[in-house]
């Protein structure tokens, strides 16, 4: 073997690697989203698929342009699947009958600003999908809160809503969380929340009508991610358990003012957040204890925003706030290294 040949080889151990790639991680995350998407289509029509397609194409195009501008290898990064994950999360958190440009604009913000302007894959301090959601709900609060009604699955109508020029108020309705807020704020309608469930167009058996099944789909996908060891148990358990505990405590204390834990867990993006959003490793905490704190605090913030905030579907704000804190949390939760776990380790 000549010297030149040798230099082309891997020069240092380890010489063989486990077959794993960013691409395979991202693809499995996409697969994990499928059950939730299926439920979405079942209850709210195929519009969500149009949104996913819109967001995906936009994300890939934006990613390609940004990679080109930044002089990065195009195919290597375009194929990593991270832009697709962001795109799907945007599509799933935006209203499925939002006008096309809302999704496109949101996706552009996520990929161009939140991801690439901060340094691209692995460098973004904020979850790009959540940046998109937060910016768009502040900029276009009305459009971002027009959701399809359950069983309004007429695809032509949805198509018209997405690509048409006029708004179709007839088919839109508020999200369960929004509706709940309205109900709770109306003194005449005040009632025990449990009584609302199942008796209202918006509410289902546990959470939002239809939404509870989508949430179940996300949970199923989340279990798949756990089984694949792509995420650890810390984040989902901490997020869901904290949300359960806080909402449970308040619902016990004053059941006609606060929604119970079942409702909190199975409406809005709680399940999506627990398994797919707070678990984003790039923008979240990474140490085991840090993950518990990060997800737990995100859940508390979520409950506060849902209950007292201006945007009842405001998980995005909770996640972004915690993204800011992630480096600090990591710094203070470093696990002890080998041999430094107890006093015996420090002073023989």
């Amino acid at each position: 073997m000549t010297r030149q040949d040798r230099d082309l080889l891997v020069n240092n151990s380890p010489y063989f690697l486990q077959p794993a790639s960013v691409q395979s991680v991202m693809l499995r995350v996409l697969v994990a989203l499928l059950p939730g998407i299926a439920a979405y289509v079942w209850f709210f029509g195929a519009a969500i698929l149009v949104q996913i397609l819109l967001a995906s194409v936009t994300a890939l195009a934006a990613e390609a342009v940004m990679l080109k501008l930044r002089g990065k290898p195009l195919m290597m990064f375009l194929g990593d699947g991270s832009a697709l994950v962001t795109a799907w999360l945007i599509a799933l958190t935006f209203p499925s009958i939002a006008p096309w440009w809302l999704t496109v604009f949101g996706t552009l913000l996520a990929i161009v600003v939140a991801k690439h302007l901060y340094g691209g894959l692995g460098q973004n301090p904020f979850n790009p999908a959540m940046v998109a959601f937060a910016l768009m709900i502040v900029a276009y609060p009305l459009l971002m809160s027009q959701w399809p009604g359950v069983d309004a699955t007429d695809f032509a109508g949805q198509w018209e809503a997405i690509f048409g020029s006029r708004q179709l108020d007839a088919m839109t309705m508020a999200t369960p969380l929004d509706a709940l807020r309205t109900v709770l704020r109306d003194p005449e309608q005040r009632a025990v929340i449990a009584g609302l469930l199942g008796k209202h167009a918006t509410f289902g058996n546990v959470g939002g009508r239809g939404w509870e099944w989508i949430a179940a789909g996300y949970a199923l996908g989340g279990l798949y991610l756990l089984q694949q060891r792509i995420i650890t148990w810390h984040m989902p358990v901490a997020f869901l358990a904290t949300l359960f505990a806080v909402s449970g405590a308040f619902a016990l204390y004053e059941p006609d003012r606060f929604a119970g834990p079942g409702f909190q867990l199975f409406t809005g993006g709680a399940m999506l957040a627990a398994f797919f959003i707070v678990t984003d490793p790039v923008s979240g905490a990474t140490t085991p204890r840090g993950k518990l704190i990060f997800a737990g605090a995100a859940a508390v913030l979520t409950w506060i925003i849902r209950t007292f905030g201006a945007y009842p579907d405001g998980i995005a704000f909770a996640v972004l706030l915690m993204n800011i804190a992630a480096p600090l949390i990591d710094m203070y939760t470093q696990p002890p290294v080998f041999g430094h776990k107890d006093k015996r380790g420090d002073s023989p």
Binding site: Y15, V25, L121, G122, V337, P348
Partner: protein
């Protein structure tokens, strides 16, 4: 029979494809003596042994050819009898491609031993035992090649509770310890008993990964026999779960005893010591048979037709060894050690040394080049598998950014470079390379700082000396002037006879004191440390000078060549 040993486990680890079966089908064979042995003088951690032979000398098998130099160093020996044809710079079995001083021996085929005598360590003083083991060249044969005599010391506790024998052999492809345990368990146990006695150790725990049932069975038989002879059950063979790097000394000690020895601490401070099974075997040969370390078992595996374990004379070119096993046509590299931690050899002509537990033959097919490196996505896979409980991605982040202080804060130096993190990284980041880079940068900076400290001390000393000289001059001047004045004053006094004022007295006293100080300082000016030597010291200095000149002379032509 043994009670079930409680195991403790360790954090992380990986389960790569082990590929061990290929080389375990056949017993250990003795590799033929090559036509030329190239024996590097530097084969252990520590000081480079000085050559004790020169070209033209005839040497016997087991004759010391390199003498240990310094407190941490270990001798090297002629692997067979023959003639020294050169003592010169040769390519070392190291990735760097650097050369170092080697003794080149042409075997005479007679394989004639030096006189061998068992060493009675029981009646020897600890210093004698220490020197004997140093001079028989016994070092850790698990791959770290740390001089064993330094570890055969019970430390400040005076005795140990546990002697751990490492037969885990966790690296893929390597089976030299497995075969040694299968075939020579009894000798290993004998060596272990010697080590136990030296260390005043209580129990002996022999950790073997449970993928080696035959080795476990053989060691169990030998251990039981020893236990029966001693009438106790102090030697236990403990199968440990197969998970890389269970054979890391610290990992194995933790698995067997639950004790974690922190980085930078001696295991003896925790009542523990750990040796490789091959080292126990070498200790027996050195102590009981009087044979220095001149050969070792080497696994030849990978891209070959017939993988096998060989007993190889140190200094045998790896090419000869590989040729015995039929390398496949697409062979493109030789690695010393396993695929997780092994070193890529600069070519296949480098010699087998004490550290060579495996000669791994590679090809592009067997070890394909990794896909391009992607950015870190902080997925934490590396932290999950790190056996030192580190946060590898944080260390990577800071090493890459050259923020070395931060990398150290994240315990960079606790990293054992096992390669688990790089093995699982979905972004294919060569993480260990970053740590090696950061460590060597930090070491380089420390050396620089030390050099700067020395320079500063010298400078400060110079300032001090200049100041002292200035004072001395001033004192001399003052003395002269004072003497002049005194004369004048005396002359005046003769004329006027004035009363001596107290002030004048004080002045005189001051001057006298200054004079005295100057005198003392002069006397204290340091003599050079080479003056006033005893004849013995003088002889030593000359011997050292001669040796230096000799080495310079030997290295000269090669230094020029290397340019």
């Amino acid at each position: 029979m043994n009670a079930v040993q409680r195991l403790f486990g360790f954090h992380g680890g990986v389960k790569p494809a082990y590929n061990k079966e290929a080389a375990t089908g056949l017993p250990i064979a003795v590799a033929p003596t090559p036509t030329l042995l190239v024996i590097p003088l530097h084969q252990s951690i520590g000081g480079i042994p000085r050559p004790l032979v020169k070209a033209g000398d005839r040497v016997l098998k087991g004759q010391r050819i390199g003498g240990a130099d310094g407190n941490v160093s270990s001798a090297v020996h002629a692997s067979t009898s023959g003639t020294v044809v050169a003592v010169e710079m040769r390519l070392m079995p190291h990735t760097s491609g650097l050369s170092a001083l080697c003794v080149v021996i042409e075997p005479d085929g007679r394989d004639e031993w030096i006189p061998r005598q068992p060493f009675d360590f029981r009646s020897a003083t600890p210093t004698q035992t220490r020197d004997y083991l140093r001079d028989t060249g016994v070092v850790g044969l698990g791959g770290a090649v740390f001089p064993s005599y330094l570890k055969l010391n019970p430390g400040k506790l005076g005795k140990l509770h546990t002697l751990v024998l490492n037969g885990a052999e966790c690296e893929p492809f390597i089976t030299c310890d497995d075969l040694l345990m299968r075939e020579r368990a009894e000798t290993i146990i004998k060596g272990t008993l010697i080590m136990r006695e030296m260390l005043s150790a209580g129990q002996v725990l022999i950790g073997i990964e449970d993928n080696k049932p035959q080795a476990i069975a053989a060691m169990e038989v030998a251990a039981q026999a020893a236990n029966a002879a001693a009438g106790d059950s102090s030697i236990k063979v403990v199968p440990v779960p197969t998970r890389y790097p269970a054979g890391g000394a610290k990992q194995l000690m933790r698995v067997l005893t639950g004790i974690e020895v922190p980085h930078g601490k001696r295991s003896t401070d925790y009542g523990l010591q750990c040796f490789n099974v091959g080292t126990a075997y070498a200790i027996y040969e050195a102590i009981a048979l009087g044979q220095p370390l001149i050969s070792r078992i080497v696994t030849v595996a990978g891209n070959v037709e017939r993988a096998r374990n060989y007993e190889v004379l140190l200094g045998t070119p790896m090419r000869d060894l590989v040729a015995l096993c039929g390398p496949l046509p697409d062979t493109d590299r030789v690695i010393m050690g396993g695929p997780m931690m092994g070193l890529l050899m600069p070519n296949d002509e480098v010699p087998v040394v004490k550290a060579a537990n495996c000669v791994l033959v590679g090809s592009r097919k067997l070890f394909p080049p990794p896909p391009p490196e992607m950015p870190c996505i902080r997925c934490g896979e590396c932290a999950k598998v790190c056996p030192s409980d580190l946060q590898p991605f944080e260390m990577y982040w800071f090493s890459r950014a050259k923020i070395f202080g931060k990398a150290q804060e994240y315990n960079l130096f606790d990293c054992i470079e096992c390669g688990c993190c790089a093995y699982v990284c979905p972004s294919r980041i060569p993480l260990v390379d970053y740590y090696r880079f950061a460590k060597s940068e930090i070491w380089a900076r420390e050396l620089e700082n030390e050099a700067a400290d020395v320079a500063r001390e010298r400078y400060e000393f110079r300032l001090l000396r200049e100041e002292r000289e200035k004072q001395e001059k001033a004192a001399k001047l003052a003395a002269k002037t004072a003497a002049g004045r005194e004369k004048a004053a005396a002359a005046l006094a003769e004329v006027e006879q004035p009363a001596v004022t107290p002030e004048q007295d004080a002045k005189k006293a001051l001057i006298a004191a200054a004079l005295e100080r100057a005198r003392v300082q002069k006397a204290q000016a340091h003599p050079e440390n080479t003056s006033n030597l005893t004849p013995q010291q003088q002889a030593e200095v000359e011997a050292i000078e001669a040796r230096r000149a000799e080495i310079r002379e030997m290295a000269k032509p090669h230094l020029r060549q290397d340019d």
